[in-house]
Amino acid sequence: MKRTWTLSRMPVVDPHAGQGNPLSGRWAPALAKKTHWLATGATRPLSMVLPVLVAATLLLTPRGAQGQILDKVLDAGEKASKVAGKVQSALPIGTEEEIDIGRGVAATVAGYYKLDRDPDLTEYLNLVGLAVAASDARPDIRYRFGVLDTDQVNAISAPGGYIFVTRGALALMDDEAELAGVLAHEVGHVNEKHVVNEIQKRARTELGADVAQAALKTDAAALDAVVGLGTNILFLGLSREDELEADSLGTVYAAQAGYDPQGLLHFVQKLQANESKPFLATLKATHPKPKDRIKLLERVSSKTGAGGPPVELADRFMSSTAGVPR
């Protein structure tokens, strides 16, 4: 039976809610600039990758050393931009190619773990996912969210906006703010094209010049090879830097949507508490250590207000995920 979210539902906020900017504090400007801009025909500048890297770096750095670090990060960023430009020219991946790759990767992910085809649960996941994606939605793709039927705790984002969370991860969560944080982390990977960038970096060395220069829209074999590379990147894990950047972005996206900015932090704290459990084996192998993530998330979330009292929506989360065994 299709559920409807009626306007008559009771609000779940404190009546003394504040009306401040959802982003506040010392690091807000850099993160806000990074995560929230209006595009009037302008393309997403490559340099916009830098602010969050800078913010994340600064958040982990004693204040006295921040000036030097800032200079180094900017220098490194400029060099990285130039290198990325050369790599991209070797394997151009536009939006259509990205979506094609994403569909292939998503089909592989859904084959490896079975897709849970519960329409109500999937609708709920999409509503939460779209709520957090809206704060910095890419205009060229559609975000789609699905549940994977496995006890393993994990979340995966394929290029082009195909995002998955496992039943195991849902079972570990206690409220909607945690789910929002996890989905927002994945949205961060998609928005920054982490997998696409990694494919472009590795295409020539791992697939050869022919594939790297193939037109993916017309060369099915080359596209297959790139899908395979993209899938392997996902299953073997992105870089530590990409993961921490997604953590920062996820916290900000969730807060901008109105959720408790500590939702992702609370989830990662549970990962730490369950570190030795077998259902965390995959996640452990593909993500930075929880203690490192927690250190960053504590800082970012403490500087990122939600514009009102923290919205966690535990009751709505529990009723919407009632079919998930806990």
Partner: protein
């Protein structure tokens, strides 16, 4: 909660409109536009408004209002750009773009621009409501009342970073993909302007993957991807979801009565 019903100002156009007098409201278009010009901020400013409107005659509570439109505004006196995306059925309709260049306001369409006052949109209730929402308002939420004290509309306003390109934003030509400002916030569920997703050989996936435990065989499931793609969330369902959780534009606010 303060009311925005101030008949002495040109922005009273909105109150007239909601009170059911669109003709009278239309006659005040010139005054409203002139007042907008006066109120435009000199520095770059951008915001997104959500209109929840009451049925004719007003409503007793916010829960009886319905999402009517999303309005994105970019301003830098004397210029501004207003994009109105009205609700049409169970989704959003075509975006109406109005650009003011400091001398006049224009309706911008895919085929060109025309003075707003000479276009049929000058009589459009939502266009008038958008124009009647004062540029210099700072409240995150405003409740508009009818003359007999009922709720006529609630307008939520979210500031947006004003890092838009002025030459593009205030152009009298439609952006190539349409939408412009609104695309950032609404693209996830917009029906138009999306690239055509074409299934290809790659969409079937691969049959072996590398994992931390070594190579693993896989049977790709393309039908799962198709199933996911068929699970579209309607913009109105999403809006109701946000309202119910007091998220998005409604974060940090309480329901108006």
């Amino acid at each position: 909660m303060r009311s925005f019903f101030r008949p002495s100002t040109p922005f009273a156009l909105l109150a007239l409109l909601i009170a059911g007098a669109p003709q009278a409201a239309a006659q005040d278009l010139g005054a409203t536009l002139a007042a907008r010009q006066q109120a435009l901020p000199k520095q770059k400013t951008a915001y997104l408004e959500t209109f929840l409107n009451a049925p004719p005659g007003g409503a007793s509570a916010e829960k009886d209002l319905k999402l009517a439109a999303k309005v994105a505004v970019a301003q830098e006196a004397p210029r501004e750009r207003i994009e109105i995306q009205p609700v049409s059925g169970n989704t959003f309709g075509e975006t109406v773009i109005v650009v003011g260049n400091g001398k006049d306001y224009f309706l911008v369409t895919k085929v060109g621009s025309t003075p707003l006052a000479k276009s049929a949109k000058a009589q459009d209730a939502l266009v008038l409501q958008a124009l009647g929402s004062a540029p210099n308002e700072t409240a995150k939420k405003r409740a508009l009342k009818t003359s007999d004290g009922k709720l006529a509309a609630v307008i939520y306003r979210e500031p947006r970073p004003a890092d838009f390109n002025s030459s593009t934003a205030f152009s009298l030509e439609a952006p190539k993909l349409g939408g412009g400002l609104l695309k950032k916030g609404l693209s996830s569920f917009a029906d138009s302007d999306q690239p055509v997703v074409t299934a290809s050989a790659g969409a079937r996936g691969v049959d072996e993957i590398d994992t931390p435990d070594g190579k693993m065989p896989v049977t790709p499931d393309s039908s799962a991807v198709v199933w996911l793609e068929e699970r579209e969330v309607s913009p109105l369902d999403l809006e109701a979801f946000l309202v119910a959780g007091r998220l998005g534009p409604y974060a940090g606010t309480e329901e108006a009565q």
